[in-house]
């Protein structure tokens, strides 16, 4: 694949994701105006649903909901913060992606450059050692001394509540 094609493909993909990212941010922002958030409600734990009995949806469940608990002027600033936080992530994602891209490119080009070198001095003469000519006349391992270090394991002294 030629270099021009690779670059063109990369630019297209980046443009696509860039547009997608902006669209997603916009969609998230508009969606929050239409979505009700349940943060202001306290729900009681309900037992496992009994499928044998037909549920009475006209009955008590609706009665249990006290209308004055629904605060129409609920504070949605937390939700706005969520939208702001999402925009910030796009920028940091791009920066991180760029860093990864630069490091990957550096590694790839370094590998290409190193493959251009093939002239190396030989350190030894292993190719010219006569086969089966190596003989050990003395082979001794003698114990000299030993040392033992001990380090105390720190203990957690906090008392249990």
């Amino acid at each position: 694949m030629s270099l021009k094609r690779i670059t063109a493909s990369a630019v297209c993909v980046m443009a696509f994701w860039g547009v997608f990212g902006v669209k997603s941010s916009f969609t998230a922002g508009s969606a929050q105006m239409l979505t009700a958030y349940a943060d202001e409600y306290d729900f009681d734990y309900v037992d496992e649903y009994d499928y044998e009995e037909e549920p009475d949806i006209d009955g008590s469940e609706i009665d249990d909901i006290e209308l004055d608990e629904i605060d129409s002027d609920a504070d949605i600033s937390v939700n706005e913060n969520r939208g702001t936080k999402r925009k910030h992530n796009v920028i940091s994602s791009f920066v991180v992606s760029l860093l990864i891209g630069l490091i990957s490119a550096l590694i790839a080009v370094s590998i290409m450059k190193s493959s251009m070198k093939s002239v190396r001095k030989k350190a030894g003469a292993a190719d010219y050692r006569k086969e089966n000519s190596f003989k050990l006349t003395k082979n001794t391992d003698t114990f000299m001394y030993k040392r033992v270090e001990k380090i105390a394991i720190p203990k957690n002294n906090q008392p249990n509540k």
Binding site: L3, I6, T7, A10, V13, M14, W17, F20, G21, S24, N89, S93, F94, V96, S97, L98, I100, G101, L102, S104, A105, A108, V109, M112, K113, M116, K117, S118, V119, R120, K121, K122, G124, A125, A126, D127, Y128, R129, K130, S133, F134, K135, L136, T137, K138, N139, T140, D141, T142, F143, M144, Y145, K146, R147, V148, E149, K150, I151, A152, I153
Partner: protein, 359 residues
Amino acid sequence: MSEIIEYKCPACGGKLEFDSGVQKMKCPFCESEFDVESLKDHDEALGTQKEDEMNWETSAGSEWKDGETEGMHIYTCKSCGGEIITDSTTAASKCPYCDNPVVMSGSFSGDLKPDYVIPFKFDKKAAKAALNKHLEGRKLLPKVFKDQNHIDEIKGVYVPVWLFDADVQADMLYKGEKIRHWSDGSFNYTERSYYSVQREGNVRFELVPVDGSTKMQDELMESIEPFDFKDAVDFQTAYLSGYLADKYDVSADESIERANDRIKNTTEQVFASTVNGYTSFNKETGNISLSNGKAKYALYPVWILNTSWEGNKYTFAMNGQTGKFVGDLPVDKSAAAKWFFGIAACVTAVCFGLSFLIF
């Protein structure tokens, strides 16, 4: 009167004393304890260490017989001073080392006659094919290197080499360390045990080549090794036909140091490979000596091509016997920059896209 021997502590170098309580030699400084016999052996091993002895007999080559050099010509390069020998049927026009014109300066005479020659096994066609293969797929290579006209100038040269044989005796002393870890509820323990490791033995080396020409880079010649001596024959001038031969200008005595370095390095590696079972070890002392060291003079076949680019000279070489091809290639900086930014853009795009899927 008996001789008083003082022992030094192998751990800290302090003076050891005999501890009657444990019946061992003990260091008052680091409190390490040593068995008397082990200490004596270790001290003896340290005491018998000598300097390396690498002696060679360097009378190699022979005298030319009457009529053998008839028809052989010498060509001299005015640029680098190289002297090339050919037979009467071969003409040289360019120096294989610097690519400048050469002039015939006379008939060949004098000098040593080589003992052996390894004839060329790969012809010029094979050499050019190997060069093209070496250049293939190199994305950072400048286009001028693939110019076919220049590749045609590849030359077959017999390079003079000195071949060294020797029996090597080595006496090495290492300090080995074994580490053991364990723990009880209260403490982490680390036990370090130290051993005196002695290795003595022999090994033989044959036909270690050292390049005998200053014009041929040693690194280049060593990069195309090994040469297989099984194909070597007694030298005859007929083998020069169609090829060039370089005259030696580095004597056997001058080549000895390189042979010593290579033999010594391999000997140390071979002996170190016998030290097993330790967490780590290091060499304390070592002595390497040579015996029956002999040198021979031979011609080895090499295909050579020189190319210049941006004021730098690049030399390629192929082993004329095995076909191994080497040569450092220049890097086209603009191509490198294009690949760098292309790859960076691609990877950035992929990672950026993935970040939307993940988060």
